[in-house]
């Protein structure tokens, strides 16, 4: 497998992992809204907390994580950009 193919295979895997996490926080947990709402977090009912704040925060964290991880993949395969910003 060429370096480019290996790079793309890793990038693809990383994409899938990210989208699984995304689906978990955006869809899966809200399939169980009533059940989650019986638990509480910071004093909020859990499902309410997730839709008002928790999932949103998870997306933000996920995006920084995913960008950093992808940069590592870039570096491993020599596709990292040098930039001045």
């Amino acid at each position: 497998m060429s370096n480019k193919d290996a790079y793309w295979a890793k990038t693809k895997n990383h994409m899938i992992v990210t989208l699984v996490l995304w689906a978990f926080f955006s869809l899966v947990i809200f399939m169980f809204g009533s059940e989650l709402n019986t638990m509480s977090f910071l004093g909020y009912p859990l499902a309410y907390y997730m839709t008002a704040q928790g999932s949103l925060l998870a997306f933000v964290v996920m995006l920084f994580w995913t960008a950093n991880k992808q940069e590592k993949i870039d570096e491993e395969h020599g596709f990292s950009e040098r930039e001045e910003d």
Binding site: S34, P45, T51, M62, L63, E71
Partner: protein
């Protein structure tokens, strides 16, 4: 001002000074209020001062270069592009209506919050870095080059036009509403004042000017949103950091809902009482999750449409064409979402505080459960009743205000809560300026997305490929004015009741653009014929379904009003269009000859961050 390294390096200092200057302006206004300047004049000064600053930035950013006009010269730093995208994203409607939506809709409505943020994960993983590497000026520029040919380019411009134009009339409408309220002029005039402000910011400098005004607008709008939320929270005893401290308040709302009862009014009663259109009352639980499979599906389907739509909206995607590198584009999506999160996570807190302030009889601001004659004498109730923004109907005739007897427009939550909680008027003036910033920044991005696609993809790429730079930029500016004027003209008729919802823009974009964009990068086998068939079948099936399902259209050939199929109503029609687009695109692609070696290589190069862009710096 020349956009050399000096300017870019000095950005933190420039915007730091700007933020400081704005803070000083707020203080001066606060002093002016103490000195007896009228509330109305303070509102006028807030809006006028901020709009003048945006216009000044727009003027300083004028340009005669194609890549500066279309993609801000591709040198917008990560964090600043994040702020610009956040302003581009958060519309006047988000600013004034989001908290109101949560106030009335509770848990169910908050599917929008998840949808409008989760979509950025799709933008970051599937789209932004690859489109940036490609080096396109517009979204149709990518589709036209990847699939090759004028027809597919024109098809994607068609989708872009439908989606963005649906959105832009709503934004110009919002600009007009805020301008008319703050400046005390008629709505019809307010629309044109709003349009002129929008055009001044974008006409001379295109994307470059819009970028730097959007950063300035983000700073104003986020201060205008957060300051009142924190202030109100400490004032009504919600704690200094509401996001982490409103657990008891949410529980208290649950108790109050029990105590007052969640009653549904009949349409006949509301009509008889003369409740003005657009005003709502609380009939659902704030934090409770509705029971049943259909309720879950309604939540999920709305979230899916908003997420996929987010990842297909051209005015958002094009913001990531302006970063210096692919890496910066990825990081920039993360920063965008962070800046959006600051406002979106505050909207439910504002809704909670506002609801509690009105509902809790133990608070001095509480009105539910009090006598109606007493409530009608409260100053802010009088003000907002006179403009038909709030309304009281004593259905049971007991003279006591019940929860289902208090009607209010959603916007009032953001616009009046500072007044209700007894904050000085300077805060209300600030909120006006924030709403104006939010509406203008989104309208700017949309008008530019449409006119750029028309000038670059239709005029330059299809009609006159030999046009020189001066002519191209002239055409781009003329189109910008025409699109803006058309939007303002339509907005001035106040057709919002039949134009429907902002959500439609997401459904249109998702129906016609999502899969052609994703497969263009992730599936080499996708062909031109597949893309054309997919785009057209997606957008047309979505559009037909909308005509079929939306009660206000009740198109005669479809036999009038129809029951939504699987609960897919007019807010969710992208769930019809996008799957059809995907299936048709795959089938037709597999039936046609696979793309030639040059196209396959182009896709390969798009996937690698380093190396030359597919399209040249100037093209």
């Amino acid at each position: 001002m020349d956009m050399k390294g000096g300017f870019i390096k000095n950005l933190p200092k420039i915007y730091g000074l700007y933020t400081g200057g704005f803070a000083v302006f707020i203080l001066i206004m606060a002093i002016a209020e103490q000195a007896g300047v009228s509330a109305k004049n303070i509102g006028v000064m807030f809006v006028a001062f901020t709009v003048l600053i945006y216009a000044f930035i727009g003027y300083l950013s004028r340009t005669i270069q194609v890549d500066a006009y279309y993609v801000a010269g591709r040198q917008v730093p990560t964090v600043f592009n994040g702020m610009a995208t956040a302003a581009d994203w958060m519309s006047g409607a988000s600013f004034v209506a989001l908290a109101g939506g949560v106030y009335f809709g509770g848990y169910t409505y908050m599917a929008f919050l998840v949808g409008w943020t989760g979509g950025y994960v799709l933008v970051a993983t599937l789209m932004a870095p690859y489109l940036r590497k490609f080096g396109c000026y517009t979204v149709p520029d990518f589709i036209g080059t990847r699939y090759g040919g004028n027809l597919v380019r024109a098809c994607s411009v068609f989708v872009l036009f439908i989606a963005s134009f649906t959105y832009v009339t709503a934004q110009i409408n919002a600009t007009g509403t805020i301008a008319s309220r703050a400046l005390g002029i008629p709505f019809e005039l307010g629309v044109w004042v709003g349009l002129i402000s929008i055009l001044i910011c974008s006409m001379l400098g295109g994307m470059r000017a819009v970028t730097w005004t959007q950063v300035a607008q983000y700073i104003v709008l986020i201060i205008a949103y957060l300051l009142p939320v924190f202030w109100i929270s400490s004032k009504v005893g919600g704690g200094v950091f509401p996001h982490l401290m409103l657990g008891d308040e949410v529980a208290r709302l649950g108790e109050l809902e029990q105590q007052f009862g969640l009653v549904k009014n009949s349409a006949a009663d509301m009509k008889a009482a003369g409740v003005p259109g657009g005003l709502k009352y609380i009939s659902g639980s704030h934090s409770g999750v509705p029971e049943g499979g259909m309720a879950v599906w309604k939540y999920l389907s709305l979230a899916i449409c908003m997420m996929v739509g987010t990842a297909s909206l051209p005015h958002i995607l094009m913001r990531y064409f302006t970063t210096p590198s692919v890496r910066a584009a990825r990081k920039s999506v993360a920063w965008s979402l962070f800046f959006i999160f600051l406002l979106y996570s505050s909207a439910p807190m504002l809704a909670t505080l506002s609801k509690l302030a009105l509902m809790d009889p133990n608070l001095p601001t509480g009105i539910i459960g009090k006598s109606i004659s007493e409530v009608q004498n409260i100053e802010w109730v009088k003000n907002w009743s006179s403009v038909k923004q709030v309304f009281i109907a004593d259905f049971n005739g007991d003279g006591i205000l019940q929860l289902n007897e208090w009607f209010m427009r959603g916007d009032v939550v953001v616009l009046a809560t500072p007044e209700v909680a007894g904050l000085p008027f300077v805060i209300s003036g600030l909120v006006f300026a924030g709403g104006m910033a939010a509406a203008m920044s989104t309208a700017d991005g949309l008008v530019l997305a449409i006119s750029n696609a028309l000038s670059h993809d239709i005029y330059y790429k299809i009609i006159d490929p030999k046009a020189d730079t001066a002519k191209r930029l002239l055409v781009a500016r003329v189109l910008l004015v025409i699109i803006g004027a058309a939007g303002a003209y339509i907005a001035s008729f106040r057709l919002t009741s039949i134009l429907g919802s902002v959500a439609w823009a997401f459904d249109f974009a998702m129906s016609g653009l999502f899969f052609p964009l994703v497969l263009g990068v992730w599936w080499k086998r996708a062909t031109r014929a597949g893309a054309i068939a997919g785009i057209m079948s997606g957008i047309l099936s979505g559009l037909l379904y909308l005509l079929w399902v939306y009660p206000k259209f009740s198109v005669p050939i479809f036999g009038g009003v129809n029951t939504p199929f699987l609960g897919i109503d007019h807010l969710r029609f992208g769930l019809i269009g996008a799957p059809i687009c995907l299936v048709v695109m795959i089938v037709v692609s597999l039936m046609t000859k696979e793309p030639d070696a040059a196209t396959q290589k182009m896709v390969d190069d798009t996937r690698i961050p380093t190396g030359k862009a597919i399209l040249g710096k100037q093209h």
